[in-house]
Amino acid sequence: MAEKSKIPLHRDPFVRSLIVQLTIPALLIWGLYIMFQNTVENLARGGIKTSFDFLGEVAPFAIGFSPFWTFELGKSTYLDVFIIGIQNTILVAVLGIIAATTLGFIIGVMRLSPNWLVSRFALVFIETLRNIPLLLQILFWNFAIFLAFLPGPRQSLEFLNSIFLNGRGLYLPKPVVNDWSGFWVVLGVFIAGIVGTIILRRWAKQRQDETGKLFPARLVGLGGIILLTLLALLVTGGPISFELPALQRFNFEGGIELPLPLFSLWFALSLYTSAFIAENVRGGIQSVSKGQTEASEALGLPRGLMMQKIIIPQAMRVIIPPTISQFLNLTKNSSLAVAVAFEETVAIFAGIALNQTGQAVTIIFMTMAVYITLSLLTSLILNIYNRRVQLVER
């Protein structure tokens, strides 16, 4: 302590690093502020007044797909457009991440299969999808596959007279609650089923640890949930009914509509990203030392179980970090949607709203904020998961 006080202030490493760390961000913020001021001033000179006021104004155009938010022409504002854009971005990103991860894992494991045909197939799948520009793949699914092969609304493919598929999208029955008390009972039974299954699994695991006996807890639990819920539905006299889509003069109305562009975008994003994830999975698996495989083979574990219980858990710590950036890429790539008329943030907010209002600075700033927030959230969630996986290892 006494020695430390002899060091002059300007050579104290702590003080120095504090000063540097404060000065650099301050300079950066100052620079950004000057840039912002300059832009706003330049725009003002050109007659564009930068502000957030436009968000409260009625949007003079219509939005077609807003499953979680009501859009009413003549009432909804630019803020509604912004919110719908974010929701649709999140929707396609979540759907895409789920599908890309599932597919990526399957293909990645197939890539290492001892079966020549299977591993070749995976190789061709990966190399083709990774090397064709994503925009082209989106256009391909939309125009060359879906629109070319799916029929018009009048000739829709139909299942059980309640699900319809045509070149405009997929139309599903929409559940409508007509007896709320009955509905709560059914929901209660359903949740109880899930809780029961969790308890069952704990018990089964404990028993296996102690006695080595296996119990198919997952299967029994699932069967129980389905059976009990059905029973509850019957007892309460069917508190839920379904609104079926019906063909009108031009299109199907009623029910749930999932428009075609969502599928085109979802397919293309999932397939494209799954090729990259498959490579991460392959790399991860190969990083697990060969001794692990040999050891589990010596134990007589079948290949499937060996992958599931021994290899993949160890590979996860190598797979997850690069896969996080694939998730982020997928989210950002969803902004190519406008080519197939899917209404996400960039298409309707940074595109249409910007063009109609001229509020470039505000809108681009807000759009960037959306993507940064989504990216940070994704990283945060996955990093928490990653930390858990890493700890299990040690």
Binding site: F61, G167, I352
Partner: protein
Amino acid sequence: MQKIVTLAAASALLVLSTAAGHAGTLDNVKSAGVVKCGISGSVPGFSAPDDKGAMQGIDADICYAVAAAIFGDKSKVKFIALTAKERFTALSSGEIDILPRNTTHTLHRDAALGIDFTYYNYIDGQGFMVKNSLGVKSAKELDGAKICIQAGTTTELNLADYFRTNGMKYTPVGYDTSAQTREGFDGGSCDVLTSDKSQLAALRTELKDPSSASILPETVSKEPLGPVVRQGDDQWGDIVRWTLYALINAEELGIDTTNIDELKKSSTNPGIKRIVGTEGTMGKDLGLGADWAYNAIKAVGNYGEMYKKHIEPLGLARAGSVNDLWTRGGILYAPPIR
């Protein structure tokens, strides 16, 4: 993401081009040696490449005429293809000098986007194209339809207004370019395609089976289309505006590419002499050479010649329409060059 990058780059340009954007466009153009011209590049009759790759159409001609007026050489144009959504940012950020991209003059654009409208090179209106199999005869029957449309246009605003006024509902299917819009309609992602009427005819001929669709009789909006310039440089605005006026006045005075040299040599009509630059100070007033209008007309012809070459092949007759001269029952009316 690509779009964001473009837009961010455009915003960055705004930051850097402190003064460049607003004054002295003529000097900038002269030192660059070209007029940077924003067009669509895929609208037949307005701007589309011919089979030799040269840009053709009445929008392209505006830029050829301005280049000829400044440099005496119509080839000094650089065309930049823009989507409907990109066009205004491209203009206000200084990426282009003129925007004659079938762009409609509206109050909001004029007053709030930092841009100025000059005059009109085609007066249009919005219409609807439908599949014949639907048996629709009037736009009033379109309640519940899905409608293919190009995003970022007045078209999508008029559509919303029209359906609101008539108490009808619709679902928009908004694409980025007119090629995608047409493919969407052709492939069946919508029942109706809406656009400026001048384009419906051309789009219809590009369908897989043109006879499967027809254009409804209604015209639901006013679409005065013309070249746009950046706000704040009045001299540049004057040059573009008066070049267009010169082409229209030339038609009114009977000056065309076949007789302009003859008239320059021997005409005694003072109105003609002022246009071809043998009398008066017109060119000097604009900051250009005396033969600015002569060069412009020589390069692209008078307005009537332009119309005949580019618009008539689309099947849009001019006689007696709004696009005819005021002297023949139309509304094209250019102020006098004097």
